[in-house]
């Protein structure tokens, strides 16, 4: 019995665990091993995910499960993504989809964002969640590595309305040695597919002298997909197997990014405290239209929102933004 959720297409016959260890064969079908179990259910700011072009300044409920189909050497959440999912069960939160949506509303969140690990680990649970969330008017977004099969990518598109996709590198050598996958081709295919119908932002962690040489090539690919796709270039925060690695040189990477800003208008460089490359500039007149603080690793926040509706206050050009900016984003607390 083959699992077709991700490109590994693991054979789960006879109790084989598969790469992610999150699915099993049962009764002639693929079954989720730990449905409705969550590693996180906490409110945060949408910039911290990061989403810079979705309801700026809004409060979101951050959820995650466990497990991953990648083995990134620098994983920031290895204690939940790489750990044997059986071992972590006792400290997981157990919520039905309706309870997750209720928690979101109790904390005044208009959106729920799947973060922490890979959503492809928990497809059936997330499908249920999407159904409840939709009926309650709560939108869903996610961070994903997009290493899903074509059919599973359609599932992702049916569950989530906004995505931040990790494009970690292009070369097969990099992907083999640092990510543990043979090729980035399925990811490129899925970025193209999801960006066609959903709001997509892309994140790329940069390891100096390893994948920084691919910046322009990645920018050109993204511009071909969508000339206004927001791109978050992360300074690698060395963790897990790369904990002893050198912190990448900020000025050098910032300099390299200067040249790709002529290819893509919304290029950000962050994941370190105090970054000055987190503001949104109007592609028409270069005015600062959204200002942010960078607090590094999952801590960014909105500083000021200058757009008039969705337009530049100076030249009126439309700025890429998902969501009605007139909404009272953070006033949705409800009682029981």
């Amino acid at each position: 019995m083959q699992c077709n959720y991700c490109e590994w297409r693991c054979d789960l016959t006879g109790g084989k665990p598969g790469v992610c260890r999150m699915y099993e064969e049962a009764g002639g079908a693929i079954r989720e091993r730990f449905p409705h179990r969550w590693s996180s259910c906490i409110s945060s700011r949408i910039e911290s995910i990061p989403f810079y072009h979705v309801r700026p300044g809004s409060r979101v409920l951050v959820i995650g499960t466990m497990g991953c189909n990648f083995s990134c050497r620098y994983c920031s959440n290895a204690f939940i993504a790489k750990e044997d999912p059986t071992i972590v069960q006792e400290r997981m939160l157990q919520f039905s989809p309706a309870e997750v949506v209720r928690k979101a509303k109790q904390m005044g969140c208009w959106s729920i964002v799947f973060n922490v690990n890979e959503p492809a680990m928990s497809f059936p649970t997330l499908q249920e969640l999407a159904e409840v969330a939709r009926s309650e008017g709560v939108s869903l977004g996610c961070l994903t590595n997009a290493y899903t099969t074509e059919e599973a990518t359609e599932l992702l598109a049916s569950i989530f309305s906004f995505f931040n996709i990790g494009l970690k590198g292009l070369s097969p050598t990099f992907n083999r040695e640092h990510i543990g996958i043979p090729s980035a081709e399925p990811i490129l295919r899925n970025i193209r597919r999801l960006a066609a119908t959903r709001h997509v932002e892309v994140t790329t962690p940069i390891i100096e002298s390893v994948n920084d040489g691919e910046l322009e090539q990645m920018a050109r690919f993204l511009a071909d997909v969508d000339p206004e796709i927001p791109w978050h270039v992360f300074r690698l925060l060395p963790e897990d197997e790369m904990k002893e690695a050198r912190y990448p040189n900020v000025e050098k990477i910032a300099g390299a990014l200067d040249s790709v800003r002529s290819i893509l208008p919304y290029v950000y460089f962050h994941n370190f405290v105090g970054s000055e490359w987190v503001n949104t500039l109007c592609p028409g007149c270069d005015s600062v239209v959204v200002e942010r603080f960078s607090l590094g690793c999952g801590g960014d926040r909105l500083k000021a929102f200058h757009c008039v509706e969705k337009g530049c206050p100076d030249c009126g050009r439309e700025i890429r933004l998902l969501g009605d900016v007139a909404e009272q984003w953070n006033s949705r607390e409800v009682n029981r």
């Binding site: 996180s40 400290r91 939160l93 928690k103 005044g108 912190y247 900020v250 405290v273």
Partner: protein
């Protein structure tokens, strides 16, 4: 204007602490502090070199600034104790290691040390699951013993009342009454404060990321240096420090995660709270010590923190702090002061020192250091 100098490893930037705006002005102190930050990259919360970093950084900063008052926090053992598997044999060695650092600081600086153990730790015995309540249960700022319960249903109140691991349920009014002399009025305290029994911690909707191994042990009394003979309550420490600053060079040293049983030097016990309430290590305890007044309600346990975390919040580099606390030791002292610590990003707020230098790590992710300069005009 207070400024924050961020050192994100090989990259530095200076900001207005309140607004977060970049600061272009140069002051001689800025360069001096940046040099100290550059020479002392932070090893990380769980790294055994974390406490050595405190001593080395403090000594370097003292050499440049010549303070009369130094505030230090050693916290590596607290992080390790909380999240690492430590055997019974590991803990004494860990305590010995941190006191070696304290001794090294004292020997090299010649300052009179006034040491405070912020409270011991005990192995986690049980988690109290509050996630299935109808109302919203919240734990804030790494608290294990206290949770806030907001908008509970009658069923919730029955459930928590019957729970064997919950020691006490306190209404907001009763909580406010207990600390009626606090500067803040307690209006932001939760509707109900739930108090866990010894060895237990609350599990609320939030992160279940890292496995907690140890939680604060009953800390009704905490140890302080025996020389603080005029101190019997945690709120007395401030006055005792003030008296000593007026006559000599003093270092107030917090050793995190240590209770009276762990304290290797002659010590005495001082009350660390009131009646059923004791401070867990954290901002409230720090502020209580540095201001000499109970500060339970400034950022009360279990409050709805997310409501204050929206756009427009000032002090972006200071976590949940919304203002610089008044009347802290450093803020009111005429003497030059510094603070160095590896506990959290609230040290610059709680100490009020002229110059603070602390790790910038969130959830154990090491992002560098932050220095805050509150004053640059002392001779």
């Amino acid at each position: 204007m207070s400024v924050a100098i961020i050192d994100a490893r090989e990259w530095q930037k200076t900001f207005d602490l309140r607004t977060g705006e970049t600061v272009a002005d140069r002051h001689p102190l800025f360069g001096m502090v940046q040099g100290v930050q550059e020479r002392h990259p932070y090893p990380g919360d769980l790294d055994v070199a974390g406490n050595r970093w405190v001593t080395d950084t403090a000594l370097d900063l003292m050499e440049q600034y010549d303070p009369s008052f130094v505030f230090l926090t050693y916290a590596q053992q607290y992080f390790s104790g909380r999240y690492s598997v430590l055997t019974d044999a590991d803990w004494p060695a860990t305590v010995a290691a941190v006191f070696e650092e304290v001794e090294r600081f004292v020997a090299r600086s010649g300052f009179t040390p006034l040491i405070v153990g912020t409270g011991g730790m005990t192995p986690l015995a049980a988690s109290i699951d509050l996630t299935r309540l109808d109302g919203l249960a919240l734990c804030t700022h790494w608290s294990a013993r206290y949770a806030g319960l907001h908008d509970p249903s009658p069923r919730d109140l029955q459930t928590v009342a019957a729970h064997p691991e919950i020691e006490r349920i306190v209404t907001r009014d009763d909580f406010r009454q207990l600390f009626r002399d606090s500067p803040s009025d307690g209006s932001r305290a939760p509707e109900y404060l739930l108090v866990a029994r010894e060895g237990c911690m609350f599990k609320t909707a939030g992160g279940a990321f890292r496995q907690v191994r140890r939680v604060p042990s009953p800390g009704y009394f905490i140890p302080v240096s025996a020389c603080l003979e005029d101190v019997s309550d945690v709120t007395d420490i401030r006055k005792a420090v003030d008296r000593r600053i007026s006559t000599g060079r003093v270092a107030l040293i917090f050793v995190e995660g240590l209770g009276a049983d762990d304290f290797p030097w002659p010590s005495r016990k001082v009350a660390n709270g009131r009646e059923w309430f004791f401070y867990e290590t954290g901002d409230a305890q720090y502020l209580t010590i540095t201001t000499g007044r109970h500060q339970v309600f400034e950022y009360p346990p279990g409050y709805r923190y997310f409501e204050e975390d929206g756009p427009g919040k000032e002090f972006p580099f200071s976590g949940y702090f919304r203002s610089v606390p008044e009347d802290t030791i450093g803020a009111t002292s005429a003497a030059r002061s510094i603070a160095v610590g590896n506990r959290s990003m609230f040290m610059h707020m709680a100490a009020g020192a002229d110059i603070s230098l602390e790790c910038f790590a969130r959830n154990l992710y090491n992002q560098g250091t932050m220095a805050v300069i509150h004053r640059s005009d002392k001779a």
